[in-house]
Structures are given as structure tokens and as C-alpha cells.
């Protein structure tokens, strides 16, 4: 796992960095000393560990440094070029740059390339390369033109990249052979993409050239070190390494640097609007390892030496030490892109609903999944007008509820595209946005229609169930519970609370799906109907009635358990809602704390209902409830255990539950004794089965008939 350590700024002096930033940061011959060249007139030597300046040199007023200062590792001298053609060589004892060695060259210098172990190489703007010593021996020697006039050196790194009429070429010149080979970088289909940053690394056989394009993708191009045919213009194809690393239309530049074979550092803003970030990506697993925000903006330049990243943060040269350890897959997947703010952004590599949710809202999210991009493109190509989903989203923002409904129906009737679920998610989010904005806006029918498309999930529209809970829309909640596979336990519990507390009269008005209760409460239904009429006749508060009923039952007929068993403690509609809860998926650890918040009387009611289901289950041999989609015995038992676990003290303390608990206990006990008997029978049956098998065993010898074909 890579790590970015605490940053520190190098200079107490504000550098004369213009809008172009620094010219360069180069390693000096001593470890942790660096030469920083600003785009004006100054070269500064820093000692990194002490964070202090060791020396500073400036060229005369009117002169301008055009090429970053480098260190000649063979001699320990520093070299800089000012005014394109004037070469200066000095060492750390020199004070004034004007008085040091000077050589005027015949052509304009692009860069001086200096690495440990060899003499520095001078790269001219026309593409020629000379060794420093050969050049100094005859400074006015003629420099040939290697690249054509239209070509411009964009970047170099032991070889040149030349920009030419929208095409990119790579020139590779090996140090020893001096053979120059030219490669054309094929960019593929995306024509308008501009490469914004290059970086290169060399292994034994290939130069790996990585490019960061304006669409935020990192591509890799492999260029052989030993060219097969140096004369021919060869073409190399690039392959995609990472997608959507930075936002495409960043204001400032972006930069890319290879740290090691698995890691790259990227400087740029991940979202169009967001601040710039320095981030380390693992190419192998395509994951973000770490990211750090740079709120004061950067110049879009990035250097790295040893274990330090250098960049211009605001006005200061900032150094961030980093560490890249070998990643394991688990480690690599462990970190999400925006760990500090998980609510709003999710990494694009979990190609999922929420990314497209952003697009649906019209915001040009850089983390669009590839699919969306492609779809967009296709649609743009085929039909220039706004796609229907976009239209619908616009409708949702402005039009009346009725109109939306009509439009939605039209939209749903259309053929489903592969990203149908994402669009549905966008639509729901759009509807909910408007709901929040206008309290009067309540597109219930639309939402129900959308839920019934079977493609929604909780994470696709997190706000939906909250809105439904606020509006106590039990029908919608029931639908959600039935359809969504990923409801958080807290929401499930909130639904349970609502289902238990909502008044019976409210329930009567709702249109709840009664599938799961249809048959088994048949016996109870009659009674319930009576009860309901009674409620109406008496004009009682139904909730009170319900509870007092229980109490009455418990108090008045403590012995008569049989009658209790057949009456359902809740009305069928509530039962249907509770069944939806029983069916929902949950994890015990997360559910238990929420169950503790349910009031005691509701706990009792729910337990009564579960007990009733349990009894019903035990009535038949298969231990199932009748109906189309009834709760299973396991679900019932699990919920009984959960409720008792979560509210043990409460249940023990309240008198209403006492009777219930005793009954439950008695019943469980009787069941256990039944099962222990069954166990005994099973053993005898097993023996019988064994005997049976032995009879089938034909002994040591038999003659059998075998027919083939």
C-alpha cells in the first residue's frame, strides 16, 4: 500500500514562479540536495533533510534561464542555459553566475540531460543530441536538424516526443549506438483527445511510455529499446491502463510520473470542480492507493527523486515523501477513492449505479463509467436530439405530476437499454430531489411504477425509503422491502417501527399487497372482521383496542391457550407488512442495536405475531405457512430469537409479555420433546434402511444381465 507522508514546503522565499511554474527540479551530485530552477532567473540549491537553501544563483537582469540547471555528476559542476544558447558551468563555490565559464552555442538548447555515470547530453530544439564535452571542445560547431519544422519537442526523457499536426511521434536515440528511430504513436479512435503529460520508464527490453490524455485516461505504449528497423517510421499502439484518473477539462495542467513498476503518481483534479490532488495509483490492480488534496493549486508539474515527490503548491515548492510497498490485492482494494468523504463519491472502479446518478443530475462527472461514455457517444452520433431519458429528467424538474406520469409510462414502454437500471436510478433521484424541494410534490404512482421495474436497489436511490418513511407510505415501503436486496438494517428497523406503530385505521386506507397473508389468517380473518366492525361500532382508538385486547386475553383467559393460538394478534394488512420485514435480508450484528429502540408494547405485539406464526407453522407436517410467499419457519424463529436477544430485560420486566413468554416457553418445550422422540424414530429407521441395503448387496458372486446400446 502506498502512503503519502506529511508534506513540507522547501523555500521560505517565494519563488519567482510564473504561471508556467518551475523550470525544473534536478538531483544534485550529493544525496538529498536538489537544484531548483524557476522560470525566471534563479537557480537554488536545496538540502532536503535540513529543508534549507545551500546556495542561490541568478543570471543578470534581462537574461532569462531557458533550461533547468543540472548537475554534471562526473565533475560535480552545475550547468544551466540562459537565453537559449548561452551555456554556463559553475560549482557551488562560485557566487556570481556572470563570472563563471560561459560557452555560446550555435543552436538553441532544449534540455540538458544528465544522469549518474555518464557525461551530460545536450538536446537541441532541432532534435540533435551532443555530448557536453564534445560540444565544449567546439561550441560553435554546426548542429544538424533532426526533426522537421512543424514538429515541436513536447517532452523528453532519454528520448524525444514531438508534436506534429495532431500526431505524436517518439524519437528514440540510444546513448551508445546513436541510432535514431522514429515511432508514431497511434492514439486510436478518440481523435480530439490531447495528450497532456508523458512519462517513461525503461526496463530491459522496452521503454514504457505512459501518457495522460485529456480524457483523464492513462495509456501505456511499449517501445522496443533495440529497434528492428531504424530507417522505417514505425507505429506503436497504446493500451489503456487506467481510466478517469483526473478530470478531463482541468483548468491547470496535469502531470504523471511513474514511481515504480506498479505505481504512478498523478497530479490533477479528480473532478472538474474539485481541488487538485496528488494521488498514487496502482496500475496492476487499477486502484487508487492514496490521494492528497492540494487546495492552493499547482502548476501541473511533478518531479520525483528517490522517495520524494516535488510539486509547486501555491507559491511554494512542496515536497511530499511517499512510500510504495508491494501491494496485495486485498490491500489494493482496501482504499476507496475518496475515503475522507464516502458519502458523496465512490470510486469508479466499482462500476455502479451511483456514478451514473451523478450524470443523471446533469453534472459532468469525470467518474463516468465507460458504459455511459460509450452510450453517450453513440447517441450523440446517431441522434443529435436529447435522449429520452434526458428529456424525462427535464420533465421531472419542471412539469406537473400528471405529465411526469404519462412521460414515464412512455419511457418505460420503450426498449430497455443495457444501462436501464442506471437511468431508472437517475429518474428516481430526480423525483426525490424535487420532492425535497417542493413538499407538495408527491409522485407516488411514478415511484411505485419505477420500483416495479425490478431494477432498483437501495443504494441506487437511498433517499427513496427515507421519503417514504417520512410520509408513512407503508405501501411504498412494503414494495421497497420486497424489491430491494440491500436495505440497511437501520432502515429495516425504522420500517418495522412504523409498521408496528401505525394505526389500524390508517392501514385500512392503504393498498398493501396481501399475498403473503392471504390464506393462513383465513381463520383469523373472520374474527378480525368482527373485531374491525366492533372497532367501528365502539369508535375506539384501534391501537388501544388492540393492546387492551391482548391484555384482556392475557388477563381474562390465562388458561385458555388454544383459543389464543388461533387468533392473529394483528390485522391482515399489518401482518402483510410485518411479513415483508421478516423476508428482508439482515445481518444480526447490525440489526440488534436498532431493535433495542422499539417500544416495549410494540415488541410484545410483534412477538405475539411471531408466536402466532410459529403455532400456525407447527400445524402442518411440512412446517410451512400457506400462501404464495409466506415467511419460512427459519425466518420466524430467527426473528423471535433476535427480538428476545435485543430486548431481554424489557420483555422480562413488562407484565404484558409474561403470559406470552410462558406460552412460548411451553410450546418450545413441547416441541423439543417431540423432536427428541423423532430423533429416536430416525435412529430406528436408519437401521431399517441399513438392513434394506444389505439385502440389495448381492454377495461375492452374481450373474447380471448387461445390455449395451
Amino acid at each position: 500500500m502506498a502512503a503519502l507522508e506529511e508534506e513540507f514546503t522547501l523555500s521560505s522565499v517565494v519563488l519567482g514562479a510564473g504561471p508556467d511554474g518551475l523550470l525544473g527540479v534536478e538531483h544534485s551530485d550529493k544525496t538529498d540536495q536538489f537544484l531548483v530552477t524557476d522560470s525566471g532567473r534563479t537557480v537554488i540549491l536545496y538540502k532536503l533533510s535540513d529543508q534549507k537553501t545551500l546556495g542561490s544563483w541568478s543570471v543578470k537582469q534581462g537574461q532569462i534561464i531557458t533550461c533547468p540547471a543540472v548537475c554534471n555528476f562526473q565533475t560535480g559542476e552545475y550547468i544551466v542555459v540562459h537565453d537559449n544558447k548561452v551555456l554556463r558551468i559553475w560549482n557551488s563555490e562560485d557566487v556570481n553566475l556572470d563570472k563563471v565559464f560561459k560557452a555560446t552555442l550555435s543552436a538553441e538548447v532544449y534540455r540538458i540531460h544528465s544522469i549518474q555515470g555518464t557525461e551530460p547530453l545536450v538536446l537541441f530544439k532541432e532534435g540533435a543530441v551532443r555530448g557536453l564535452e564534445a560540444l565544449l571542445a567546439e561550441p560553435q560547431q554546426k548542429i544538424e536538424t533532426v526533426i522537421s519544422n512543424e514538429e515541436v519537442i513536447k517532452m523528453y526523457c532519454m528520448f524525444l516526443i514531438i508534436f506534429f499536426h495532431g500526431n505524436y511521434f517518439a524519437y528514440v536515440q540510444t546513448f551508445h549506438s546513436r541510432v535514431l528511430s522514429k515511432y508514431t504513436l497511434l492514439l486510436g479512435q478518440e481523435e480530439k483527445v490531447v495528450i497532456q503529460s508523458f512519462t517513461a520508464s525503461v526496463d530491459r527490453k522496452f521503454i514504457s511510455l505512459m501518457s495522460l490524455s485529456s480524457d483523464g485516461c492513462i495509456h501505456e505504449t511499449l517501445i522496443p529499446i533495440r529497434p528492428t528497423d531504424p530507417e522505417k517510421n514505425q507505429r506503436v499502439v497504446r493500451s489503456l491502463l487506467l481510466k478517469a484518473v483526473v478530470s478531463g477539462n482541468a483548468r491547470n495542467g496535469v502531470a504523471l510520473t511513474v514511481l515504480d513498476q506498479d505505481h504512478v503518481a498523478v497530479l490533477g483534479s479528480p473532478l472538474p470542480a474539485s481541488k487538485e490532488c496528488i494521488s498514487i495509483w496502482n496500475i496492476k490492480f487499477q486502484t487508487l492507493q492514496i490521494s492528497k488534496e492540494l487546495p492552493q493549486g499547482t502548476s501541473g508539474q511533478l518531479w520525483y527523486y528517490g522517495e520524494n515527490l516535488f510539486m509547486l503548491h501555491g507559491k511554494f515548492l512542496t515536497v511530499i515523501p511517499y512510500k510504495c510497498e508491494v501491494s496485495s490485492l486485498a490491500g489494493a482494494l482496501g482504499k476507496l477513492k475518496h475515503s475522507q468523504d464516502p458519502g458523496t463519491h465512490v470510486t469508479p472502479h466499482f462500476v455502479n449505479w451511483e456514478t451514473s446518478q451523478g450524470c443523471g443530475l446533469g453534472c459532468q462527472n469525470s467518474e463516468q463509467s465507460r458504459r455511459i461514455l460509450r452510450r453517450r457517444k453513440v447517441e450523440v452520433n446517431l441522434q443529435p436530439e436529447v435522449p429520452p431519458s434526458k428529456q424525462l429528467l427535464l420533465t421531472i424538474k419542471k412539469d406537473s405530476e400528471k405529465h411526469i406520469e404519462v412521460e414515464l409510462r412512455k419511457f418505460l414502454a420503450m426498449k430497455q437499454t443495457p444501462d436501464f437500471h442506471a437511468i431508472i436510478g437517475d429518474i428516481v433521484t430526480g423525483l426525490l430531489e424535487r420532492c425535497k424541494a417542493e413538499p407538495s410534490f408527491c409522485p407516488r404512482n411514478c415511484l411505485i411504477q419505477l420500483i416495479q421495474t425490478h431494477v432498483l436497489s437501495y443504494s441506487l436511490c437511498p433517499g427513496l425509503m427515507e421519503v417514504a418513511l417520512q410520509k408513512t407510505d407503508v405501501q411504498l415501503l412494503q414494495l421497497c422491502l420486497q424489491q430491494f436486496p440491500d436495505i440497511p438494517e437501520s432502515v429495516t428497523c425504522a420500517c418495522l417501527k412504523l409498521f408496528l406503530s401505525i394505526g389500524d385505521d390508517c392501514l385500512q386506507e392503504t393498498d398493501v399487497n396481501m399475498e403473503s397473508v392471504s390464506d393462513y389468517s383465513g381463520t383469523a380473518q373472520d374474527e378480525k372482521m368482527e373485531e374491525q366492525t366492533k372497532i367501528l361500532q365502539n369508535g375506539f382508538n384501534p391501537k388501544e383496542d388492540n393492546c387492551s385486547n391482548c391484555d384482556q386475553e392475557l388477563n381474562e383467559k390465562p388458561q385458555d391457550t388454544t383459543k389464543e393460538t388461533i387468533s392473529c394478534p394483528v390485522i391482515p394488512k399489518r401482518a402483510a407488512l410485518l411479513n415483508a420485514i421478516l423476508h428482508s435480508a439482515y445481518s444480526e450484528t447490525f440489526l440488534l442495536p436498532h431493535l433495542k429502540d422499539i417500544p416495549a408494547q410494540h415488541i410484545t405485539l410483534f412477538l405475539q405475531y411471531l408466536y402466532f406464526l410459529y403455532l400456525k407453522c407447527s400445524e402442518n407436517a411440512t412446517m410451512t405457512l400457506p400462501g404464495i410467499h409466506p415467511p419460512t419457519l427459519n425466518q420466524i424463529m430467527d426473528w423471535i430469537c433476535l427480538l428476545l436477544d435485543a430486548n431481554f430485560t424489557v420483555v422480562v420486566m413488562i407484565p404484558e409479555a409474561k403470559r406470552l413468554l410462558i406460552n412460548l416457553y411451553k410450546f418450545v418445550k413441547s416441541q423439543i420433546s417431540v423432536y427428541s422422540e423423532l430423533n429416536k424414530i430416525e435412529v430406528s429407521f436408519r437401521e431399517l434402511q441399513k438392513l434394506n441395503q444389505e439385502k440389495n448387496n448381492r454377495g461375492l458372486y452374481s450373474i447380471e444381465v448387461l445390455e449395451l446400446f
Binding site: E325, V326, L700, Y701, S702, I703, V705, E707, L708, F709
Partner: protein, 626 residues
């Protein structure tokens, strides 16, 4: 296809002997296995784990140690005090040499392969020089108090670790003197046992000695200082065997509980250079003691009292996830132990020291597919024939007419005449076998029972004419000059005019029995032949190889048949090729010439040559093993 009456015979209660030693040869990728009855088998791990050679056992020759030395030479040593070298070409014992140290418990070859070291009952460690044709005693090391149960040579060849009772000694090879004695703790779970037997030692190149002992411990010792470095208690019973990989990055131990444990040298933390031995994987493929283990580059090999040879590939070392990555369990020998007299419905079963003759039962009922028919007559045990002498039976055969039984041990050949008078059987041994018929590797009767073909271990093939009560030697095909390779498989054509014989590596040779000369040689194939048969009428020779390829070769035309070429072009079905047990027998449907019947230890199948146009499908029907 038709209807068969299948006699399900489950009364051949052959029990293989337990495995005592295994020795893996890295050069040839072969595995030598010795069993408690003294049999030594050689498996070719490259040829689909086929058991290509075997040396019959001997009652007095309990093998305690087995090793490869000087490249491809195989030695064994046992409790009779002899060191034996095997002749891998002629398939017999080359010589036996007494070490004069009492029973030999351990033996190891030097890393260079030029010296042999044996540990004896009397506590002596004897060094032998391996000469090109023999071994020669060189000297004794310092005599120890008690028997030397295990030996291991330092990879540089300068030192030796010897496991004895209660201690491990480290010898200097040059001087032959003891440098260190490392006393093994007798304590076992706090209880002091009477003795602690060091069952196995392994000397690593860094000087570490690993020992396994009867207290259930795997211990690491520093041989330079003679101190205990680390101890793993891994079993409640004896740890009986140890084998280290050539790279010394992993080793395997086998316990008396039937478990084998894999130890690996792993970094303490990732990226760290410090490594330590970690017990990584336990495997329980055995029910009884794992007496011996071996470590091939890609697999752990174990064998023990439960007679199974288990080859467990190490998944991290297997590069291609093909069928080689599967666990192999080899229990039964890959050769024919049953012969059959078609005329009299007799079965002859071969055991290590006796033969059993059974007559099949019969039924008059008929039924439909899968029915078990009521027996009108049950199978009879007619004869129990015990061999004389301590040697195991190599091969046996009953003539198709049922009147002759022939069998052979390593030094004697027996031929018996059976007479049937109603229900009585009388057996008369034909005496005075000629000197050249001393031992046979394979015996075969001609279809009309008038001729006997014997493959002797000198590479020659003898044809014997059988007369009423006597015999006449007709001819001997001598091996091609320069080869001594023994023939292990024979097949004769039903008309009696052709004889096919195959050795372990060279091609199948076809002889003309009428003219008594070599007819042709089928081109050699990379994999050993596992079964041979000649079809009636067409005289096509069908050859099955250990890689499950089946060839058909026309003897009269001296070339592969059209069908065989087509099959080779198309290739067999991958399910067929993936099977791991070799075909042990080939037969032909008497009425349908297009059908070839094959079987191995687990399956009976039919190849229909007329269906070749579609790629060969996995067999339609299979029968369970015996």
C-alpha cells in the same frame, strides 16, 4: 450392441502388501516403491504414473531401505543384512552382498552418487564405494551403541547425520569419527517414554539437521554446535518418515496416524529476508502408518501400511492446471493377476504365494438389463496351489482348454497338467523343466492350448509344444543383439500364427510363429505399452499405451490401420485421455469385429470403430472394479 451375461466376481480377495520405502529419482522422474513382501516396483511418473517394472519379492528379503545411486542404479537393503542391486533392464536381482553388520535399517547414497552408506543393527555405519558393476566395502565409521535407523548426507558430502535410538550422531566423512551427539528428549507430553527412536533425519546444506522421532516431534538441530534449535510436536504417535525437496525450501513428514505434514521455509514477514520453517499443510490420505515419504519437485509422495501409494501434487508448483494436478492414489498393481479358461469357464487368481482356481457358476434364467439372475450353480473353488520356496509368484496362466497351469517365480518355472474326471480334479506337475526355463516374466498359451509362450527375463522368448503330459521345446527367439530388455507383455493371434511381445521401452515386436522368425517391429512410442491383443480374422494388433492412446496395427500389412490413422489425426476425447489408470486388458467382441473391449481397474469400455467419424466419445457404459 447386444446382451451380455456379466459374472460379477468379488471373491478374488487380493490384498497388496504395505509400502515400506519409496525413492524418487529426479533424473528419470521415476519412483521406486518397495513393499513389505520384498517386491520392488518402479513407476514412471512421466508416463501417467504407470507401474512399468517390478521385481518379485522374497520372504526373507524384508526391504528396509531403498535408494537410487550413480544415476539410474537402484539399491535396496533389508533385515537379512544384504545390499541388493537390481538390474533394471533384465528385471532381476543383479547381485546381493552381505554388509556383515546384521540387519540393515537404513541406506543412503552420497550426493555425488558414488558412495553408499548403510546403517546396521550393530550400530555400525558402513561406507561402500559404487563401482561400475558392483559395490565395494570401503570402511566403517565409529561404531554407535545401538542400531542406526536413519542416515542423511550433507549436500556437500562432508558430513553425515545418523539417527539412532535416543540420539543423533553427526559424522565427519573423511575421518569417520563422531563430531556431535545430539540427545533427543524422551519426554512425550510430560511422560517419559522408554525410548525415543529417531525414525528419520535430513541434513540441510546450511548445517541444519531435521529429525523426526517416535515421540511425535520434528526437531531442528544445529549440527555445528550440536544444539536443538526448534521443536514441533506434530503427532500423538510416531513420526516415521521425512523427505526434503531438492531446493531445501520444503519438506514432508509422515506420521503413524496416517497424516503427512508439509513444512515450508517461508519469510517471517513479507519482504523480509529472514525465513523460518512453518508447518503449512496437513494431508490425511492414509488410514494407517505412513512409513515413507518422498518429495518430487512438484508433489508429495507417501506410502504406508494401508498399501496405498499417494501422489499429492503441490498446487503452487504445478504450472498447468491439468489432470496432473489431481491427487493420485495407486493401490492395485498395473498388471494382470487373473487368467481365464474360456472353454471350462475357469478363473485362475494369482496371489503372492499361491494360486486359486475357480469355476464360474451358471444360470438358466434370462432377464432384462440390470437384472441379477438366480444362480443354478454357484462358483466353485477348485484348487489352491501353494508355491514352494520363499519367492513370490511373478506370473501365472491357465490354458484356454483349462488343462494346463503354468506359473513362475524368480528362480523356478512350474508347469502342471490338470485332469478333470467329473467333479474330481487331479494335478500333475510336469517335472524336469529345461534349464533355460528357469524364470519367466510372462506366460501365454496359444488359443488351441498346444503351444506355450514364455518370456524369460534374459530377453528371450521360448515356444514350447505341449503334448499330453509332456512338452517339447520348439524354438527360442533371442533378443536383438545388444539389448537385454525383458519382455513383459505377450499376445498371440487366435489362429496361432503371430506372436507380439513388448518390453518396457522399445517397440512391440511381432514374430511369425509358423516360420519362427521376426516378422516386424511396430515403431516405438514415447509411452510404455500397458496391454496388447491381436484381433481374430484381421490379425490387427491393438496396443494400449499408458497415456491412454490406443493404436491398431495390421500385422499382415505391417502398417497402422486406416482407423488408427484417423483416430490419431482426430485425437481421442479429452475425457478418455484424462483417465489415470492404465488399460490392463484388451479383448474383442466375438461377433462384432468393429468392437474393441478394454478394461482397467475401474472401468470396462467398448470402442466402436464404426463410430470414429465423431470424435471418440467417453465410454457408454462402465462396470465397477472387482
Amino acid at each position: 450392441m447386444g446382451e451380455f451375461k456379466v459374472h460379477r466376481v468379488r471373491f478374488f480377495n487380493y490384498v497388496p502388501s504395505g509400502i515400506r520405502c519409496v525413492a524418487y529419482n529426479n533424473q528419470s522422474n521415476r519412483l521406486a516403491v518397495s513393499r513389505t513382501d520384498g517386491t520392488v516396483e518402479i513407476y514412471n511418473l512421466s508416463a501417467n504414473y504407470f507401474q512399468e517394472k517390478f521385481f518379485p519379492g522374497h520372504e526373507s528379503r524384508a526391504t528396509e531401505a531403498l535408494c537410487w545411486a550413480a544415476g539410474q542404479r537402484l539399491f535396496s537393503a533389508g533385515l537379512n543384512g544384504e545390499i541388493i542391486e537390481y538390474d533394471l533392464q533384465a528385471l532381476n536381482v543383479k547381485y546381493a552382498m552381505d554388509a556383515f553388520g546384521g540387519p540393515i535399517w537404513s541406506m543412503t547414497a552420497s550426493p555425488s552418487g558414488s558412495q553408499l552408506l548403510v546403517g546396521c543393527e550393530d550400530g555400525s555405519v558402513k561406507l561402500f564405494q559404487i563401482t561400475p558393476d558392483k559395490i565395494q566395502f570401503e570402511r566403517n565409521f565409529d561404531r554407535q551403541k545401538s542400531r542406526i535407523l536413519s542416515l542423511s548426507w550433507h549436500p556437500s558430502g562432508t558430513h553425515i547425520a545418523a539417527g539412532s535410538i535416543d540420539y543423533i550422531s553427526v559424522f565427519d566423512v573423511k575421518s569417520g569419527s563422531t563430531i556431535h551427539k545430539m540427545i533427543v528428549d524422551r519426554q512425550y507430553m510430560g511422560v517419559s517414554k522408554r525410548k525415543c527412536i529417531v525414525w528419520g533425519v535430513a541434513f540441510l546444506s546450511d548445517g541444519t539437521v531435521i529429525s523426526v522421532d517416535s515421540a511425535g516431534k520434528v526437531q531442528f538441530w544445529d549440527s555445528a554446535t550440536g544444539t536443538l534449535v526448534k521443536s514441533h510436536l506434530i503427532a500423538n504417535a510416531d513420526v516415521q518418515s521425512i523427505a526434503v525437496a531438492d531446493q531445501e525450501d520444503s519438506f514432508v513428514v509422515g506420521t503413524a496416524e496416517g497424516t503427512i505434514f508439509h513444512f515450508q521455509l517461508l519469510p517471517v514477514t513479507s519482504n523480509s529476508n529472514e525465513k523460518q520453517w512453518v508447518r503449512t499443510k496437513p494431508f490425511q490420505h492414509h488410514t494407517h502408518d505412513v512409513r515413507t515419504v518422498a518429495h518430487s519437485p512438484t508433489a508429495l509422495i507417501s506410502g504406508g501400511t494401508d498399501t496405498h501409494l499417494v501422489i499429492r501434487p503441490l498446487m503452487e508448483k504445478v504450472e498447468v492446471k491439468n489432470y496432473d494436478a489431481a491427487l493420485r492414489k495407486i493401490t492395485f498393481p498395473h498388471r494382470r493377476l487373473i487368467s481365464c479358461s474360456k472353454k471350462r469357464q475357469l478363473l485362475l487368481f494369482q496371489f503372492t504365494h499361491h494360486l486359486e482356481l475357480w469355476r464360474l457358476g451358471s444360470t438358466v434364467a434370462t432377464g432384462k438389463n440390470g437384472d441379477t439372475l438366480p444362480l443354478s450353480k454357484n462358483a466353485d473353488h477348485l484348487l489352491h496351489l501353494k508355491t514352494k520356496g520363499p519367492e513370490n509368484i511373478i506370473c501365472s496362466s491357465i490354458s484356454p482348454c483349462g488343462n494346463w497351469i503354468a506359473y513362475s517365480t524368480a528362480s523356478r518355472f512350474f508347469l502342471c497338467r490338470l485332469n478333470y474326471e467329473h467333479d474330481n480334479i487331479s494335478l500333475k506337475r510336469v517335472s524336469k523343466m529345461p534349464a533355460f526355463l528357469r524364470s519367466a516374466l510372462q506366460i501365454l498359451f496359444s488359443e488351441d492350448s498346444t503351444k506355450l509362450f514364455v518370456a524369460s527375463n534374459q530377453g528371450s522368448l521360448h515356444i514350447v509344444q505341449l503334448l499330453e503330459g509332456s512338452f517339447k521345446h520348439l524354438h527360442a527367439f533371442q533378443p536383438l543383439s545388444g539389448t537385454v530388455e525383458a519382455m513383459c507383455l505377450l499376445a498371440v493371434s487366435p489362429d496361432g500364427s503371430w506372436l507380439a511381445a513388448s518390453g518396457t521401452s522399445a517397440g512391440v515386436r511381432v514374430y511369425n510363429v509358423k516360420q519362427l522368425k521376426l516378422h516386424c517391429t511396430v515403431p516405438a512410442y514415447n509411452f510404455p505399452v500397458t496391454a496388447l491383443a491381436i484381433a481374430p480374422d484381421t490379425n490387427n494388433l491393438v496396443i494400449a499405451h499408458s497415456d491412454q492412446q490406443v493404436f491398431e496395427y495390421s500385422i499382415p500389412d505391417k502398417q497402422y490401420t486406416e482407423w488408427s490413422r484417423t483416430v490419431q489425426k482426430q485425437g481421442f476425447h479429452h475425457l478418455w485421455l484424462q483417465r489415470d489408470t492404465p488399460i490392463t486388458h484388451i479383448s474383442f467382441h466375438p461377433k462384432r469385429p468393429m468392437h474393441i473391449l478394454l478394461h482397467d481397474a475401474y472401468m470396462f469400455c467398448i470402442i466402436d470403430k464404426s463410430l470414429v467419424s465423431s470424435s471418440l466419445l467417453p465410454p457408454e457404459s462402465s462396470l465397477e472394479s472387482l
